[in-house]
């Protein structure tokens, strides 16, 4: 099988990898780079379990060709926080019960990390829209939304203008 060499950053480190023509970013991350935090739920762009950030925007890595990442910046859940030092959002997800089985969680964390970087004080609707490409079968979503609201309060952003960009 013919392969090509692709270079991009993953969680801020430069990576160069050989990929086959149609290889997805999900396979490259999980199988070639051993980054197993990004999950596979459907392989058809429906569930959002495989969400990563590409140049700060959430994408479904299961349908995204790695070849198209050349020169760009990929971020995965491994780059968001450490087990001993989770991000504010990750802490709030656990505390508010936004995690049950946890399989969807990395995808939600990526979509919501992007939202929190993009908007200073998103309202409930904006939060719900930001995760409209992520399926969670366990939590019923409310406690995930509450986790984001808890982060806004904690980081002093809840009183800023809603809808403004940070």
């Amino acid at each position: 099988m013919t392969t090509e060499s692709v270079s991009f950053t993953v969680n801020d480190s430069e990576r160069t990898t050989e990929v086959t023509g149609s290889e997805t970013l999900l396979d490259t991350l999980r199988e070639r780079m051993g980054l197993r935090g990004t999950k596979e739920g459907c392989l058809e762009g429906e569930c959002g379990a495989c969400t990563v950030l590409l140049d700060d925007r959430p994408i479904d890595s299961c349908i995204y060709p790695t070849a198209a990442c050349a020169g760009r910046a990929v971020r995965t859940v491994e780059g968001v926080g450490e087990v001993d030092a989770p991000s504010l959002l990750q802490q709030a997800m656990v505390r508010c019960g936004g995690v049950q089985c946890g399989f969807c969680t990395p995808g939600f964390v990526m979509s919501l990390t992007a939202l929190l970087e993009r908007e200073a004080n998103p309202d409930r609707e904006a939060i719900q829209n930001a995760i409209s490409g992520n399926i969670c079968r366990c939590t019923g979503y409310t406690q995930i939304v509450e986790a984001v609201e808890a982060v806004l309060v904690e980081s002093g952003r809840a009183n800023t203008a809603q809808g403004a960009t940070s």
């Binding site: 739920g41 089985c101 829209n129 399926i135 019923g140």
Partner: protein, 668 residues
Amino acid sequence: MAIVVAESREQAQAAADAILLDIEEWEGITLERAAKGDARVIHPEWAKYVPTFGVDHPVSDNCACEVTAEPEGVDEAFARAAHIVEGTYSAQRQYRAYLEPKAATATYEHGRFVITTASQYPFNVRDRIAQLLAVRPSDVRVVGKTIGGGFGAKLDGWVEPLAALAAKVTGRTVSIRTSRAEDMLTCPTRDNATMTIRTALDAEGRMIGREFSCDMDNGAYSGEMPRLASLPLSIIGSVYKMHGPMRASVRLWYTNTAPTGAFRAVNGVYLYMAQEQHMDEIADLLGVDRREYRLRHLFTDGEKSRTGQVFEDASILRTAFDKLEEHAPWQEVLDGLKPNRGVGIAAGVWMTNPMPGEVTIKMYEDGTASLITAANDNGSGAVSMGLTQIVASALGMNEGDVRSSLPDTDVSGYDGGSRGGRTTAIVGTAALEASIRVRDKLLAVAAGLLEASPEDIELIDGHARVKGAPSSAVPLAAVAATATFTTGSISATSSYTSPPIPFDAGCASGALFTTMSTPTYHVHLAVVEVDEVTGHVEVVRYIVVQETGKVINPVGARGQVRGGVVQGIGYSLYESMRIGDDARLVERSLESYRLPLAVDVPEVEIIFMEHPDPLTGHGAKGLGEAPVVLTAAVISTAVRHATGKSFTAIPITPEDVLFALVDAESDS
């Protein structure tokens, strides 16, 4: 069946593509066809089959289980009825759609299978592999992994026996990971069913007789389904009291479709849907307010259900209605409805699965403890949050110092599986008992170290301390280490199962169980808005009043309720594993199988009524299943209220609503 084993997904796919299947096509037999009773017999050898549950439940031709009740006086009741109300209700299949498709890894070495799998019920998987591969259960070791959602789908073996067989044949470690499409095709779904309820009413509006029938789809092979055919009998008639007999006939049919199976709250969702729609129809016919009619028919404490179970605390249901009334007065809700909105109200009783569970608690010499059990977190946190919390508080330890391990059938005692809301209640009781025994051992050793009597010592903040003398204390690490090197390391094992409940053995024939263990009581209310242009139904308000026993972890408890309600919203309005005319499943991907999203869900208002169970440790009762039970009941009755049209088939899709509205227009 053929299995392809290869070194990569691509290789396996290519090999599978190279296989040519020559299939002789037979007529597809769906539930509708099977229930007529004259279809081709799917298993001509049925009479030779080993009954699924050891006891010989009635089976014949395509009927995989039949449960009937034939009390006297039904025909007489109908003969003297002032009114008769009859309704037929149906529900489609629901796919569990856990986010992690099924997977398993197997090895076979020295005559033993070792299977690693994210199973809700490792001992069941062990026994299934042993059964299918004709080996002893002890020849199989099942090691659990964290579960990416299950909702009942990961209770039985499916990928595991295949992996085990392949490992034995190849002599290699074999992994199976299903794709989403494979998972959808092979995962037993919540069963589809059709029910008819016919009730005779006297001039005062009392229910003096009833006929009830229920046809359930078993699919081509049976797992737990024959057992579930007993449940309709308990449910229809356990919430609202009748003043007369009920004739019942429940039939579970073999069809040549993909098998069905137990999904969170099993058939309760559609049975309550049918019962509550029927109650609304009766109340409307009589011109009585729907809530009022329900209140008139509640049981009181100590009354017997139709199956002879005494409901000691039945009046909790009335209190639940009162709580709902305080929170959202019925008349105010009705008066405040905007155009195109409707409200539904429903009540139910649910149970806690009584299967046994076992816990071992082992102290380490660093003062931490490990909790060893085959009970597992199926997303509920019942083990990693609930059980560890129970142990930590009994032993005066920090929560982080009690760690639960993953199941291992070689190490853990038997456990009845993560299901039926049983883990916190049943396994929590075993955990509490084992903790008490560990505490006694710690106190005995600490007594020697502190030169005090055990009764005067308390366990607090990771220390054993003389009561009232905080400076007289030793760390648990020292206590545990001392024990290890003197009397022996400290551990204790306990198991628990709920006691059996007396019932009336003559209430039905063919029933495999007829009681609701550790019942809990529930009232739900939903307000929906129907979009006349698109047919879309939005749930705008949802209230849950749930009797819970003692709530151990409030955040987790609320999460269970919200998650359950949202699965129920999906069930009621979007989710449908359709079966085509050819008896094959239509849905093959999450693109056409519509799941609820964050934008679809209302804020669920939750009122817990704590009512500790006298038997279980800390008084916990089942909590995680019940929230889904009444969803289709309240949503379907609310849509009926909003539109003035009955929607007796679940899910109620936008097309159904539009058709009904167009019909209504052409009528007027």
